[in-house]
């Protein structure tokens, strides 16, 4: 017996060592796999920044690295939003730039210089590994270490997260999901322990989250909701009180240190629930304190009276502040999550972004695969064995599912909770189905013991005895089959995740790829060709007008001043550009002269069949312009008679004469896209265009790229003398007789009328 116990003691300490080694190895592998699966675009092409927003982040980071942190915070960018400029320091979330800058600085100090572009490109894959580790800790707090490992492995490769954090996608979400999971882990830990230290750490991590992403509003509404739910179902305790009070006080003050956030936590409606719950928590704790000191009847009156007065005063105060203008009502972006039709009518810019459309089931399946299917099972386990922290994950899951259904972009916030719950479900199932023999032996011995005790009384006992003994052959088989099939599910997930990441989410949108019929790859690098042309062949202070999608790329790659860019903070300026694009050439020329524009850039996909070009986006330009200038631009004028949108033969005259049409199709009427196509056949729209002979009056073509994708036009300077059109000239009749009007009263030509006559000796007559 002694030997047995010492052996089991050795085994126990060894098993702890094995467990920690296994945990470390699995997490390291998850980090490595997450990093590697995001590298498809880099391996296939090269290490550049993708898409649009990351270019601005990269430019800001480069500026910070070059000029220092305080110059970055005070940076006023006069090369964007000409002539308004943009206060970058106050309108950006600096967490991303500071993180890259810090890593760059540390590596520099260690004499290991890495170009800032490479750091920016590889930041998101690195942080995905950290996210996996944070998810492991979160799930370990919620359930067990085994579930944590499952969840970490799920989130390392889950396509919902990978799509926003591939290498080259240098955007806020890459680090924000890590900060989100870490904040939630620290919150759960502080609710479990009730210690001020964990709550303070949670507040610090919340500060990092606020500096990283605008989605921090989700955290500051979910945590108060959790506290409110705990109060409502009667799980309020001193731990929750300590955790929430410390977190709210510290977190709010820290979040106000970010210049972009400023005083928003006390001034906007999105932060009011947190403040309200803070007050409520104090009241509830006070009641709890009073409860032990007064009689029950007194307590009930104090409670109900106090609570109703507090709620009434709070609600009235909030409404008064909103009516008085001190507290802003819900901003458009967040209000459109509740009232989904709001954005389309009032703020067309929000509605036009493709990421803000509601979600189809294809996104759910592609981004989550089996974790979306298994997620209700995890929710079931949490509901069955509920405690304080599982209430949190249930609330997170329900709210995230709703928001993800309403907006595609928010699938990203659903992915972590789905991975956590799927990890819990798989871990529990495997736990029950992999442990074959112990379970049955303990059952059988238990049954045997019962039988021996009550042998005389139960006759039916023998039948149950027989059944439990004969279960043994079936049990292990069924269990191993189930385990095997579960492993098949997990393998399918891994294959799907890698496949989707490789094929769907690894496109550097700066470069277009397509495959020829015999499998070769054709790369169309038109964007960079055009931006390089701009960089080399235009003066340094040239102003480029284009639609706002391309603003950041032009500023980043071509290094020129732009009029509007992806920040979209000034709707009227964008509407002006939209009006210029949709008016006829002379009206557009006036606007362009006012705005000091030198070059205009349009994207045209008709030669290669690119469907994201400006003609396909044109209706949004019209709508946005109509929002600001309803008298000059009317959307209905741009449709055909039957009400469809077309640039073909039936297009309306307004459409055929607008600047966008002219610039897209200049000289296109003479070209053929293929040997068997008619001249002027547009491959994207699949018909021949309406007006083929286009003459440009105020702009001239400066550059068109190889596949006609980007077309740059130079705005001509105004002529020195106003030329009069041939049909409008007025001819003075020449010939014999002089008309009397040219001869003044003084008589002859060449004399001044009313000239003062000087007679010596007399004063001159002033007529």
């Amino acid at each position: 017996l002694k030997v047995m116990s010492s052996k089991s003691g050795l085994l126990r300490s060894n098993s702890l060592a094995y467990t920690s080694l296994l945990t470390f190895v699995i997490l390291a592998l998850a980090w490595f796999v997450g990093f590697a699966s995001r590298l498809f675009a880099i391996v296939r092409f090269e290490s550049i920044i993708h898409e649009f927003d990351p270019w601005f982040n990269y430019r800001a980071t480069a500026h910070m690295v070059e000029h220092g942190y305080y110059n970055f915070l005070n940076w006023f960018d006069e090369r964007a939003w000409y002539p308004l400029g943009r206060i970058v320091g106050g309108t950006v979330y600096p967490g991303l730039m500071v993180t890259s800058g810090l890593i760059h600085h540390v590596l520099d100090v260690l004499n290991f210089p890495v170009h800032i572009r490479d750091i920016c490109v590889f930041l998101a894959p690195t942080f995905s590994g950290l996210t996996a580790i944070a998810t492991y800790f979160l799930t370990k707090e919620l359930w067990s270490a085994g579930a944590g490992l499952f969840a970490a492995c799920f989130i390392a490769i889950s396509p919902g997260y990978t799509s926003r954090s591939v290498a080259g996608s240098y955007d806020n979400e890459g680090i924000a999901i890590f900060a989100l999971q870490a904040t939630y882990f620290l919150w759960v830990k502080s609710v479990k322990t009730g210690s001020v230290m964990w709550a303070a750490l949670c507040g610090l991590m919340y500060f990092y989250m606020v500096s990283a992403w605008g989605g921090y509003v989700f955290i500051i509404n979910l945590i108060p909701l959790h506290v409110l739910a705990l109060i409502c179902i009667g799980r309020f305790s001193s731990r929750v009180y300590t955790a929430y009070s410390s977190f709210y006080a510290l977190g709010t003050i820290l979040s106000m240190q970010i210049p972009f956030v400023g005083f928003q936590p006390v001034r906007t409606s999105e932060h009011m629930p947190a403040l309200g719950v803070f007050g409520l928590v104090q009241i509830v704790a006070a009641m709890q304190y009073a409860r032990t000191r007064v009689t029950r009847a007194q307590f009930l009156t104090i409670f109900i009276g106090g609570l109703s007065i507090a709620l009434g005063v709070g609600l009235a105060g909030y409404l008064a502040l909103v009516w008085g203008g001190y507290v802003a009502p819900f901003s458009g972006r967040f209000y459109s999550l509740w009232d989904t039709g709001y954005a389309k009518i009032h703020i067309p810019i929000i509605a036009s972004v493709s990421e803000h459309q509601p979600t189809t089931w294809v996104s759910f399946f592609f981004d989550l695969h089996i974790t979306a299917a298994v997620f209700p099972a995890g929710l079931w386990y949490c509901v069955k064995n509920v405690n304080d922290e599982r209430v949190f994950i249930i609330l997170y899951a329900v709210s995230a599912v709703y928001f993800a259904g309403v907006m595609v972009r928010l699938m990203l916030t659903l992915t972590p909770v789905v991975c956590v719950l799927a990890g819990i479900a798989f871990s529990l199932t495997f736990e029950k189905f992999l442990k074959n023999d112990d379970h049955f032996r303990s059952n059988a011995t238990g049954a045997d013991n019962k039988q021996y005790d009550k042998l005389k009384k139960q006759k039916a006992g023998t039948s149950t005895d027989g059944v439990s003994l004969s279960e043994d052959p079936i049990g292990p088989n069924v269990r191993s089959i189930v385990s095997f099939l579960m492993s098949i599910l997990l393998l399918m997930f891994v294959v799907h995740a890698t496949y989707v990441t490789s094929n769907a989410y690894s496109h550097p949108s700066v470069v277009l790829q397509s495959s020829t019929s015999n499998g070769g790859r054709v790369i169309m690098d038109d964007f960079r060709e055009a931006y390089h042309w701009l960089r080399e062949n235009t003066p340094d202070d040239a102003r480029i007008m284009s639609w706002w999608d391309y603003g950041y790329q032009i500023a980043g790659m071509a290094n020129r001043t732009t009029l509007v860019d992806n920040n979209t903070w000034n709707n009227s300026h964008i509407a002006l550009v939209g009006k210029a694009m949709s008016s006829n050439e002379s009206a557009a020329y006036e606007i362009m002269r006012e705005l000091d524009v030198d070059y205009v850039l349009v994207i045209f996909g008709g030669v290669i069949g690119y469907s994201g070009d400006d003609i396909n986006k044109f209706l949004w330009m019209v709508r946005i312009a109509e929002g600001e200038h309803p008298k000059e631009i009317k959307e209905a004028n741009y449709f055909t008679e039957s009400g469809e949108y077309s640039v073909g033969a039936q297009a309306s005259q307004t459409m055929l004469n607008c600047l966008m049409y002219k610039m897209s199709y200049y000289r296109f009427g003479e070209t053929r896209v293929g040997y068997n196509q008619a001249a002027g056949f547009d491959r994207t729209r699949n018909y021949v265009i309406g007006k083929k002979d286009i003459t440009l009056e105020h702009v001239e073509e400066a550059y068109t790229t190889e596949n006609w994708l980007v077309r740059i036009y130079r705005v001509k300077k105004p002529v020195n003398r106003n030329a009069v059109k041939y049909t409008e000239r007025k001819i003075r009749p020449t010939g014999g007789h002089k008309s009397s009007s040219t001869v003044g009263r003084s008589g002859r030509k060449g004399t001044l009328k009313n000239k003062a006559v000087v007679v010596k000796g007399k004063r001159p007559l002033t007529a």
Binding site: W361, V362, I370, A377, L379, G405, L485
Partner: protein, 144 residues
């Protein structure tokens, strides 16, 4: 003292707020998950019909259940897929029920295990069939 006081707090608060049974709340969440994961908000907001129509080779209008593009969907296919996704989760719940049954017969154990595995695995294969109609590259494209 924290726990005792919280028990005392239960009575007056649950006085004000009716406490719903847990399983009822879970059932509501499950039903809403069927609709949300099936993309019903998308169909409601963009006004998609239950089923669409397509023209076949001879020029007749035939009903079309699955929209061949992957950036849109009909209501019917959405609810079907949402149902399959939830069934996948319920399959694992069945497996859990099978394990926590106290005195099961061999038939009941086997049956629940089979149903559970069929639900979980079958849901994924069913949804793959739907995907085949929408995204042709999913089964064809090679990893180049």
């Amino acid at each position: 003292s924290g726990k005792m006081a919280s028990e005392g707090m239960e009575a007056p608060l649950q006085f004000l707020i009716p406490s719903l049974p847990r399983m009822f709340v879970f059932f509501l969440v499950l039903v809403s998950y069927v609709f949300v994961s099936g993309g019903v908000p998308y169909c409601t907001i963009t006004g998609m019909p239950f089923m669409g129509t397509a023209v076949d080779d001879r020029g007749n209008q035939v009903p079309q259940a699955i929209m061949p593009r992957s950036n849109g969907q009909y209501l019917g296919e959405g609810i079907a897929v949402g149902f399959f996704l939830t069934m996948g989760g319920l399959g694992m719940v069945f497996l859990d029920r099978m394990n926590s049954m106290t005195n099961p017969s061999r038939m009941a154990r086997l049956f629940l295990a089979a149903v559970g595995m069929a639900c979980t695995l079958g849901s994924i294969f069913a949804i793959r069939a739907f995907i085949g109609k929408k995204d042709h590259w999913y089964f064809k494209a090679s990893m180049y």
